[in-house]
Symmetry: D2
């Protein structure tokens, strides 16, 4: 509870930003999946700090070790797959002031209130470093989805601060997304985004934005009526990522400005009996269940809380003080958050694929 996610394809992460390491156990992965372990590492490299000049300079190779669950280091046994990444470049000294002065809009104060104790250095479990386990597990989920249903999960930066790109979820490619350090598949907009992040970072400030994600070729029938609707689980999944403030599916908030006759997605006949709709305001999900159309979501990320600019705050004794962040932080989390969003979405889909299989494949 709290550090676990999923029912049948279930992950449990562990580890603080500073300490022995971070990692994950993946439970429930089907047997006889030939894992591409390099692909897991590749996802971690997309998430890794220090990957470009617009991310934190913290140096972590983030090499993953698969501790269990594979035959000959490759084939899943159906048993828990544990993965470990050691912490290397720790500088707890950087956080000495922060242990005393609560960082505004960070988790320092609430962890202290909840637990009466907290990791003195770094963000503990609230650090984005925790997401290593999610991304590693998500890389397995992606391979499962690809093998089982030819499903593809892609996310990209849609907006940085006020700069927004126009991207076609049907056509976007991983190559386009990875072609620049901000992970916006529209090259010219990407260049502006990088400039904006640089400028804001130079001021000791930070910015946020919006990530968009598409699931192409999802299996139809995923999601459960009532509480475990597919969009509900997707919302929880991405809203559990650090710094998220909002979630949309399909038409989202702007869809509320339409009338029913404008918003409804007309079904159209198909040759093979698969469901198809003329429009996709539903974002691929109806009544909580995937209809086979692309699933499209958007996630709002707030500006990074830790900034170098001096801020008003209180210390752990409740006295007023000021604070200027000294740790190595990203001026904008979005480029590194792209693989995190993909991972969470893939985990939800994999879980629901197994749940669908569990209930509905007996006869």
């Amino acid at each position: 509870m709290g550090s676990s996610f999923g029912d049948l394809f279930r992950i449990s992460t562990f580890g603080e930003s500073h300490g022995g390491g971070v990692g994950v156990i993946v439970e429930g992965c089907p047997p006889r999946l030939d894992l591409d372990v390099d692909a897991i590492q590749a996802e971690l490299d997309r998430r890794r700090p220090g990957q470009s000049h617009i991310t934190t300079p913290r140096k972590e190779a983030d090499q993953v070790e698969v501790l269990s669950g594979l035959l000959d280091g490759q084939t899943t046994l159906g048993t828990p797959i544990a993965m470990l990444v050691r912490n290397k470049d720790q500088r707890p000294g950087d956080y000495k002031d922060m242990a005393v002065a609560f960082r505004p809009s960070h988790a320092d104060a609430t962890y202290q209130v909840k637990y009466g104790v907290q990791a003195r250095s770094g963000g503990g479990r609230a650090s984005a470093r925790e997401t290593i386990g999610r991304v590693a597990a998500g890389a397995i989920a992606k391979q499962l989805l690809a093998k089982a249903a030819g499903t593809e999960v892609l996310a990209w930066v849609k907006r940085i601060h006020t700069i927004e790109a126009n991207v076609d979820p049907q056509a976007v490619t991983l190559d386009a997304i990875e072609s620049n350090i901000v992970r916006c598949p529209d090259a010219s907009t990407a260049a502006q985004m990088v400039e904006r992040i640089e400028a804001i970072g130079r001021d000791g400030d930070s910015c946020g934005g919006v990530i968009e994600c598409v699931v192409r070729n999802p299996a139809p029938g995923l999601g459960m009526p009532v509480f475990d609707k597919l969009e509900a689980d997707l919302a929880k999944a991405v809203m559990s990522l650090p710094a998220t403030k909002g979630f949309e599916i399909g038409s989202g908030f702007s869809g509320t400005l339409l009338k029913g006759s404008e918003h409804n997605d007309a079904f159209v006949p198909t040759d093979d009996g698969r469901l198809q709709t003329a429009t996709n305001n539903s974002g691929g999900i109806q009544g909580g269940i995937s209809n086979g159309e692309p699933i499209v979501i958007r996630v709002a990320f707030k500006p990074t809380a830790t900034i170098r600019k001096e801020q008003q705050t209180i210390d752990s004794d409740g006295k007023a003080t000021t604070l200027a962040g000294k740790g190595r932080h990203d001026p904008c989390v979005l480029p590194r958050a792209v693989p995190m969003v993909e991972a969470m979405v893939a985990l939800v889909l994999a879980d629901h694929l197994l749940r669908q299989q569990g209930q509905c494949s007996l006869w």
Copy 2:
């Protein structure tokens, strides 16, 4: 799985729109809570169809019967509280065409794909009638929160179609919300909203909008690091309601347009050692854990899918056809969705209150 929600304060709902009835089991409610059963009925009355001329004319008294879990019909025993509402005004005939022609943007087609069978009349589990169990359970959660921590949960209609109200979450009252049939506490805006719904309904069309919800005086320390962050569970809770397309907490999507120095909520010293922030862009939650400030969320509801206007669709044989809804449906779900949002939010808070008690109150 699917029809259950929560961990320690856990509900399981059952029932289709047409059939013996709908209801809920509430598991884990603390013992020795003196329940106001009339207050449960009062919440159901806020959700009830036929309560005003802008809601569906389906006639259902929706009288709740508490089947178990109470001593002398009043005091909780700590055992499951089962509640049942019988279905009365069923007209399955109204749905005869729908069983054949899939309603656009409704759950008919996806249920058929998932299960290979579906409730032939009404929306089955996808009907808003299912939310009776949630609202009844939420009424218990509200009483639990009020007794344990003096917590209050209030929701209201913030926007209908393009008409938006300006409401102060700190000051809004239940009386103001209930003073009109659209449940917008700003009377003059409410009047415009009613007119808009009437006009759109006359056209055989429908509209959506945004509901806002505040939790005042929440216990600090609620929520879990990583996956069960309070905002993640809130997002899942409300995105599991029918017709939802988006979720925001605090500054939400618009907060992504601010810089960190503008967005961060400065801590201010207090006399009693409680956390307090100068602003509340965080929406009362930091690092997934409540800080004691009001929790503020917004939920996007799409326009009702079932409309009287003729639409293009396919039938269950995959052939093109047209459909004009004949059932008794709301032209706008938001007025009746207000108690549903409150219920889901209260359920999340109650669950996390017990989880916090479970882990952190031993010493």
Copy 3:
């Protein structure tokens, strides 16, 4: 938690012995199972009080109403199946003394300690009446197992007090079990058992015994490594029944008197590649996973706690007092416990069948 059981095929029971009624929600049942509702009622009739002169004379028709989850009252929709049995013949007056004087070896005192409140009449949730929901749900599980894998679950009374029957789990039939009121398939032993129960009951005393249960033709591969081994879940399932004191699988406690070379079940070659063993000390489960051989378990039931004989006890103020039970109770629970054991075993098997399907049927 507490009143729910199972993961994918999950039941939640509710209801006290005195109150509006008792019942169950079955979640996760696969769609398109044509339920024989009469067979559910038939199982409840086997569990019903007043079915013979050796059971409690409490009169309850125990007619089940299926509230939801079925199309045309027959075909499962894949949605929750709620079932309700009303309480009829309540005599709370019988329990007036018991509310004050704690019945020895009953749940009165521990419920009071745990919750600080308790159902004043009857046994509340600790009453065997709670098992109605289990038996009704188990009847569905049985039909699922029969359809999916031709699996059969049969239990019988193996021992009453000191009288033990010799029964062949491979050959025993439902007809033989149901041929007498004590549910021991060996007719002459059954007659002695009935006499013993009558004699002990006349003394105002009670007795216990052992129930044996076989699962014939179980699907191979059911059960999970480590914590959710099939025998572990079976043990929990039956040890959750009222009055149970012990559980055995296969050779059980007596198997500990053998050496490995005597106890091991040699595998023998088969024509169709199915696993087969020369002996079945394993009781059909190896490493927590079914091997396809019959699963054989035994369950110890203590003598009924409530007896008419006067006993030493304390009252709710902690003062010494004496108590002689006046309620209508069974001198021996075993005849009515037979369908309960079958139900719990069927529930475990059904759940694991869906779990196996969920993880291992994708490719």
Copy 4:
């Protein structure tokens, strides 16, 4: 699912007998518990292979590394505590034949049937090596129980093959248990047990027996009505250990030979209002809930399946063959299983303590 146990105090184990290592994540441990990490290692040393001449000679130091969840390596943060033990002395070659010939009464064949693949060397997840994670987690649970309620959990060998000791659960001490290599607190019986194990081991055979366990000074009120009765969870917990065939609580199977008037535990008045009973046939639990008396259980362990004697079996092609075990195995698992039983019992108690706190400590 499968490799996780518990609800609020929840553990997830990982790792095969041969591979990178084995370990566990403990989720939900309360914050601010000052852990004695040496005590965790001490429990692992009790479980360690090669600890005496009657256990397997496999050499494993089994040094535990705590990867996360502690402040300054000592104080729990309330976050997941991950622990890792590396595998060292691997000799996969020893198992080459076994990969082909299924070991009778072992998990080789059923894993193959279930997953269609299996760890080629060692027992994979079915190896007793998996229990390292349980024992390490149990050591934390023990410290939690001691701090919260002064609770003590002790297990010992009660019977080896046909040699049984008479032990008083109220008086037995850890020192007495640890005073000999077989872990039977009765020294003279212990000596006979060692001789028996030696003799049977010399024959290339194996033996089983019974472990007894007491929980002294348990908090009253632990356990949940209906399915999560304390004895049900204890049964599942210990029946999930390798090689177990039976479970008893209190009077167990022999209690079924008594009449109600003989079996019932009379309540006696106390000075402090705590419940006390004149006898303890209930084994400390009534109606599924602890009454504060010592909890006493017994667990049957079958003879070790892997023996050096030649046995009939089949190979993975289904052909008849013979097999004589060559791996390094215990002729009797019970001495090393003592800390495993204690661990599982402590885990159940800790979990229910938090669950009780969660539901029943608000007011």
